[in-house]
Symmetry: C2
Subunit: 198 residues, 2 copies
């Protein structure tokens, strides 16, 4: 019984190792390569720990961290999609759910069901924990871009207006103090010409 469970968990760990190969649109600061979804997941979980005191409303930070550790596992099957993509969003979300079911379904119970519930809670985005997690997941690409001349905005032609419209509401809803920090810096980045035009 234990042996079977451990074996399934190890298979899950090996399968999710593939998240290290899912490429995102940001680059680690100072690097030429694109970051991957595994290191991104670490970074946003770390960010949740560091910013826990600024979640508003308050959250169970342990649930947030676990949610962020698994939030991108569906991308193992679907790949990462930039948050500014507007077409096919619905279809991708369906594909990601199927992927999350497949991958988290590799685990024994109760872990499988618990983690799938957390994954879905993040996707739905309604709970305080999901809203805080969303705020950080939306904020981190902007924080990286603000340190490298708007790299992923410029490379993908994303305009200031689209950034504000897409990341402003979720960041303000889950971590208003972080939005107070970000907004004037995004405005300054616009002055610098660090955005695209679409």
């Amino acid at each position: 019984m234990t042996a079977t469970a451990i074996s399934r968990i190890v298979d899950f760990i090996r399968e999710t190792d593939r998240l290290k190969g899912v490429t995102r649109k940001n680059k680690p600061l100072g690097a030429e390569r694109f970051e991957n979804s595994a290191e991104h997941s670490w970074q946003v979980a770390m960010m949740a720990v560091a910013l826990a005191g600024f979640a508003d409303p308050a959250v169970d930070i342990s649930r947030v961290v676990t949610m962020l550790l698994v939030h991108d596992v569906g991308e193992i099957d679907t790949g990462d999609t930039i948050v500014y993509a507007e077409e096919g969003w619905e279809e991708r979300k369906i594909a990601e759910l199927a992927a999350a079911r497949r991958i988290l379904g590799m685990l024994p119970e109760p872990q499988s069901e618990q983690l799938l519930e957390l994954w879905q809670e993040f996707e739905t985005g309604v709970s305080s924990e999901a809203r805080f997690a969303h705020a950080l997941d939306r904020a981190i690409p902007a924080l990286l871009n603000l340190s490298c001349n708007g790299q992923s905005w410029v490379e993908n032609g994303i305009s200031y207006e689209r950034v504000i419209a897409r990341i402003g509401p979720p960041i303000e809803a889950g971590c208003p103090a972080l939005w107070d920090y970000l907004k004037p810096r995004l405005d300054a980045a616009q002055e610098q010409g660090w955005f695209g035009t679409v």
Copy 2:
């Protein structure tokens, strides 16, 4: 006050972004490149969540996960050292502590002190949480190697005997069921010639 705290946390997130550039000795499965300490930190935290029920004695899994998210931040200043390195271990540990103090010290209180305490708790390795975290941190390179013909053991010439001596006791101490899984597979790997000779 809040603005200053957020600003310090963002500086910390940018600084720890450098963990994405710290290279380890294992490779992601199927990849040519070496993995980095950021994606490793995600993987071992994910593993803690999945294996939480097999910690023996039981642990506060939230503390384990946070511990694992920060356990390698000192490597931003010192680089990663393979666990089989035998010379200069003491000096490296001193340098890593200085690094952890510098990096976690970028955070405001109470996060700074809390995370440094967790980092030190991991290093000391005495608490149930630290022992479970150690077990996983020692096990994950072996799990990866068992899926790729002993890659880092072969490339670094590490013998079966050294692997057993170095990772067996901590894994057995923190997650005995995982050691029961691993030991026969390490024995089979020795039959396959997946180890070095030193």
